[in-house]
């Protein structure tokens, strides 16, 4: 209830002395907020919500390349696919493929984020110290983040190819070369290497920001009281870094989970089935070989449900930091 509403001269004078209706009051108070968000709401409805509903709908059909609506030579051919209910979900969830890929995606995410965080943390701690050339180190260590992912992938393929620099170096120190790109198990490891390379700088910079936001007085107080370096780390640094760390780990997990470019471009089409994570597999189902839109959509919906779990955790992390909505 706001005073403005009650005094609003433009409000229609109701026949009875009843105050204006709830809707009306709400409108008077919030109309400008709603005006501010209208463009985004319209656009998001059109380009996100509408396709999303379509996607969910497709997952209950048998849509494929053969039976979707298309335009051939200016003539529109209507869609002829049928609704098949939960068939796609039952097929996907009872088959082995989904679970294999699911497990692989989890491994992919956990291993990558573990290394991102650990290496990023170590580098942040080192760079946070008084150090000669600190700014230069920082600037150069950030380069992998700045290189577009598809270019990084090619750079690494060049390094890891059979006669490439890495294998030559291995031979140089008397080790046997590794089939980084030709053996699919190694290929998966190579993809993880590339993604670690790509993701560490973000963690480093974010954690460095967190470290620098810890008030220096806390360390001074700890020092005056004679806390050892370990005690300072354990009781000042760790608690001070908690909120930033949980945020970046969640963001990193989401980004890694969704990573497409590296796996897609590292592998040849034939190899992709053996190293695909869920997003890559869903993509291949829709756009490589016979286009199975329905199956791809089913994967899409399943991926989305997994990511919703991340979203809930993320929301909770934000709430802990005092973000209220």
């Amino acid at each position: 209830m706001s005073a403005i509403t009650a005094d609003d001269p433009t409000a229609p004078a109701p026949a009875e002395s009843k105050p204006p209706g709830r809707l009306r009051r709400s409108w008077d108070r919030h109309w400008y907020a709603w005006a501010f968000i209208t463009p985004v709401v319209i656009v998001m409805t059109l380009i996100i919500l509408w396709p999303l509903i379509q996607g969910i709908f497709l997952s209950f059909t048998d849509a494929s390349e053969k039976n979707v609506a298309k335009v051939i030579g200016g003539r529109e051919i209507p869609a002829t696919y049928d609704i098949v209910g939960l068939k796609n979900y039952i097929d996907v969830l009872t088959g082995a493929t989904f679970w294999t890929i699911f497990l692989r995606t989890i491994i992919w995410t956990v291993v990558n984020v573990f290394f991102h965080f650990t290496l990023g943390m170590i580098l942040a701690l080192v760079i946070n110290r008084q150090l000669k050339g600190r700014a230069l180190y920082r600037a150069l260590l950030i380069v992998p983040w700045a290189v577009p992912a598809f270019v990084s992938t090619y750079m690494w393929r060049l390094l890891l190819t059979d006669n490439g620099l890495v294998n030559s170096a291995l031979e140089g120190i008397g080790l046997s070369p590794i089939p980084w790109l030709s053996d699919t198990n190694w290929l998966f490891i190579s993809c993880i290497l590339v993604n670690i390379w790509l993701g560490v700088p973000f963690m480093m910079v974010a954690l460095l920001g967190g470290l620098q936001s810890i008030p220096n007085e806390l360390y001074e107080a700890a020092e005056v009281d004679g806390a050892t370096p370990w005690q300072r780390f354990r009781h000042v640094t760790v608690p001070g870094l908690m909120s930033v760390a949980s945020t970046v780990v969640l963001l990193g997990s989401i980004w890694t989970f969704n990573m497409f470019a590296i796996i897609y471009l590292m592998a040849s089409q034939g190899q992709r089935n053996d190293i695909a994570t869920l997003p890559v597999y869903a993509y291949d189902k829709a756009f490589t070989g016979i286009r199975q839109y329905a199956v791809s959509s089913t994967y899409g919906v399943l991926i989305l449900s997994i990511l919703l779990v991340f979203a809930i955790f993320y929301r909770r992390a934000l709430a802990k930091q005092g973000e209220v909505w």
Partner: protein, 302 residues
């Protein structure tokens, strides 16, 4: 665990327990050996970070047919021939232009549409606020896998496939919620007193936003814009599925043509890759400091 554990009493006990036995090393002190170890560690990290781009650069200077040889050479017949080739004999300049167009318009639309919404969710509590924040959060992490198929089919019907405009539209599905989310974080850092002062001086909510808050948020706008640009610049999935004709390709798709099934044109590929990377790296280094603050906004406020 929290910093409260360091109340004077507790810390004093620690001090009594430890200080009597040995001298505690201060933060800014370290032995020469430790210094060496730190620099050595950083050196390893530098090698790890920089070898891929440096090696790609060196390879781009070699003759295309000698990029990979059984006998490894750091440099052989250095020349800019690969660069000349990709710039004059391939569609690379066209792809560059396409990438710039797509990334630029994605950025423009993303920022313009979402700035007001970011402001609204930062300042006002209104019915629908919570739902809107949720949808920003969730759509940002939307896998392309859920939207790409329906968007592809809708575009096929509308004739928007294989067009740069269609690609911009597809990129907006992530750019708009992302920008709104980032900008909300920046608006949160601008004190609300400024809005209140504006309102007292008789500005409308729109005037306050346009004349007071937006100018103050300029660094945030710049960083958000830049990051949106880079995301579109490097996007692979939509571009690969949607763009089929050579003249419409963006860099991320075009470069794939250098990778054959049996033979990769490493000289051309690395030259093109370096050309794509240099502008990105330069601008990136300029804004990266503000970028992280925005991405983890909320995380740094606690």
């Amino acid at each position: 665990m929290s910093t409260e554990n360091l109340t004077p009493d507790v810390a004093h006990e620690i001090a009594v327990g430890e200080a009597s036995t040995k001298k505690v090393r201060r933060r800014d002190e370290r032995s020469p050996a430790m210094s060496f170890l730190l620099h050595f560690g950083l050196f390893i990290a530098l090698v790890w970070s920089l070898v891929p781009p440096i090696w790609a650069f060196l390879t781009s200077l070699k003759p295309n047919d000698q990029a990979i040889t059984t006998e490894l050479k750091i440099i052989s017949d250095p020349s800019l021939n690969n660069y000349v080739h990709v710039l004059t004999e391939t569609d690379l300049p066209r792809w560059f232009l396409n990438s710039i167009i797509v990334a630029f318009f994605t950025m423009l639309i993303g920022i313009f549409l979402s700035a007001t919404a970011g402001y609204a969710v930062s300042r006002f509590r209104f019915p629908g606020h919570k739902q809107l924040m949720w949808s920003f959060l969730i759509t940002q992490m939307f896998p392309m896998a859920i939207l790409i198929v329906p968007i592809y089919n809708i575009f096929a019907r509308l004739g928007l496939l294989n067009s740069l405009g269609g690609l911009v539209l597809a990129y907006c599905t992530t750019a708009v919620p992302f920008c709104a989310w980032m900008l909300k974080g920046y608006f949160d850092t601008i004190p609300i007193e400024i809005d209140e002062a504006g309102r007292i001086d008789g500005l409308s909510p729109f005037g306050t936003f346009w004349r007071l808050v937006l100018p103050l948020a300029r660094p945030g706008l710049a960083v958000t814009a830049f990051y949106t640009f880079l995301t579109a610049w490097g996007e692979v999935a939509y571009a690969t599925a949607f763009l089929t004709s050579d003249s419409k390709k963006t860099l991320a798709v075009g470069l794939q043509t250098f990778v054959g099934q049996f033979k990769t044109e490493w000289g051309y590929l690395t030259a093109a890759g370096i050309l794509v990377t240099i502008p990105a790296v330069i601008v990136f280094l300029l804004v990266q400091k503000n970028l992280v603050a925005g991405l983890t906004a909320g995380g740094t406020k606690g």
